[in-house]
Symmetry: C2
Subunit: 300 residues, 2 copies
DNA sequence: GAATTTGATTTTAATTATAAAAAACAATAT
DNA sequence: ATATTGTTTTTTATAATTAAAATCAAATTC
């Protein structure tokens, strides 16, 4: 079979439901009407009707589709399982790379990975082609892919790029009027930082989430598809690194909270120079952390 | 046939050349040696040898491969035509979109486009998956792709992103020491601008190239794979728009030359504030030009 | 007779099957 | 021992296949 007949199965089951709500002996609606109702092409409707006819559930003569008997549970077809989405695949792939410290230069083969992640090979190919645009992987001369990222160089460049984008976000943020919702959000997130600072001994694990939330708030003021796309990749990689690098976590997080607070206060004070300085300081710490964690892992 | 046998054909022809340079009755080198020499797997060498044997050009017994007679022209296989590269495809695609003003929202179908551009469908699929990361196209719910970019909104966002990246480049550039080659390049390109300014009446077409060269020089100081990738797409789109938008070309280019010169002078004077102002002014003009040209085309 | 419905055909694109190429392994000859 | 060849396995890129959608024309109903 070339394609999965998911759509057919779902449509057939929907048709059983429709039959279930009708009296025996009555006529089913026209093919086009059914197709519209189920948001499916007429071809599918017709094959489903054909099956209903051969199952003796309806009698189909020309445009007369008479319900012969009510469908029962045994008539239903196994519903299709949902294939993992693009984002799910992204998550799985990065998790695999970071958890197992897959070294830069590793050959990736689509067949094996597609089995591993339980996605069609086709799908994975597309995903890798997308990553190639960000320089995370490259095509090998004759077929296959090679993992490029996750070297120290990569971390430096990623961090520098992040700095460029976030400084830009900070500058834009400070031009926003008092009434803009971002100010309220910043004030709220400031509270959350203070709360976490108090309980840091027991709750230091919660910082990863708060960190992501804070950066998202800052970046949310930039309405630009390129920036948004780039930040998606950046936050993904930083986030996963935090997840797997557990060295001196409490200490790191404590320091990061202080840096965040200084940064937030500077922005709330509408002080551009101080905000930029605070942002640079924090992002520089982040960069060092990412670098250290990569060094620790890749020196095999 | 599942794959093209390009590699086999090329290898077979190379083998004919090797036979041509040998005396009749002598032995061909070992399979591994041939494979190494032709940068091809042994499997290919063996199938090629098999064909040479069946063509009665060599006698192949075990590890004895004796040349029976010299190959002639008629023995050569049609050499494979080179498939267009990724960059060539990129160029062709953007040229098609801009030349024919393909409107945003158009459904793209891989089969048709792959015929049009004479590339394997596979290849095009990958290319589109890459563009999707930049928000230029998106996957349609059930198969196929949709063109998204090239709306006014897109132009604004692209220009804003460009501004962020180039301002960053300017800031980095001004920190570079006197000895850095970029200063010489800037001085040279300043001369080129002056020369073009003198002959602008007759040579205004040459500005497009000079513009690209200038921006490349400025951006070249940023050694960052993300920035480089992003700038590739940006310059591509701006470049192609300049190519197809011919309204008031001379006037536009004259003005742009003056803006470039002010910008270059500011940088040569190591004046950051003035450089930033000049960059912003020029990029803002560029943005307007891009917007106008899009409006002119898309209001169908 | 106009609108709707159906029958048949064409087109499109996702997936599978498969040939080409590479790699791995085992056997043999030098 | 080493180099070379024979064989098998694995992998990848493309062609073939098929589900689904779209199109078109004929037929039926009101």
């Amino acid at each position: 079979m070339a394609r999965t007949d998911d759509r057919f199965r779902n449509a057939y089951n929907a048709l059983l439901d429709i039959c279930g709500g009708m009296e025996i002996g009555t006529q089913l609606p026209a093919e086009t009407a059914l197709a519209d109702r189920m948001d499916v092409s007429r071809t599918i409707v017709r094959t489903a009707l054909q099956k209903l006819d051969s199952e003796q559930l309806i009698r189909w003569e020309g445009r007369r589709k008479t319900l012969v008997r009510k469908p029962e549970k045994c008539h239903r077809l196994e519903p299709a399982e949902t294939p993992p989405s693009g984002e799910e695949l992204e998550r799985q792939f990065l998790e695999w790379v970071l958890r197992f410290d897959v070294p830069a230069g590793t050959s990736l083969n689509v067949a094996q990975l597609s089995r591993q992640f339980a996605v069609p090979a086709h799908n994975l190919q597309e995903f890798l082609a997308g990553l190639a645009r960000f320089g995370l992987v490259e095509r090998r001369p004759r077929g296959g892919w090679r993992l490029l990222g996750f070297t120290a160089e990569f971390a430096v460049e990623l961090s520098d790029f992040r700095l460029v984008l976030e400084l830009n976000a900070v500058r834009q943020l400070l031009t926003l009027p008092e009434s803009h919702p971002v100010w309220k959000k910043l004030a709220d997130i400031r509270q959350e930082h203070e709360a976490l600072r108090k309980d840091i001994q027991s709750r230091y694990h919660d910082f990863s989430k708060l960190d992501e939330k804070f950066h998202t708030v800052v970046n949310s003021v930039v309405k630009n598809r390129f920036v948004v796309e780039a930040q998606k990749v950046i936050s993904l990689i930083f986030h996963y690194h935090y997840m797997w690098d557990k060295t001196r976590e409490q200490e790191r997080n404590s320091a990061a909270i202080e840096e965040h607070l200084e940064w937030i206060d500077a922005m709330l004070a509408r002080d551009l120079a101080r905000s930029e300085a605070a942002a640079m300081k924090h992002l520089s710490t982040s960069k060092d952390t990412l670098l250290t964690s990569l060094r620790g892992h890749n020196l095999v």
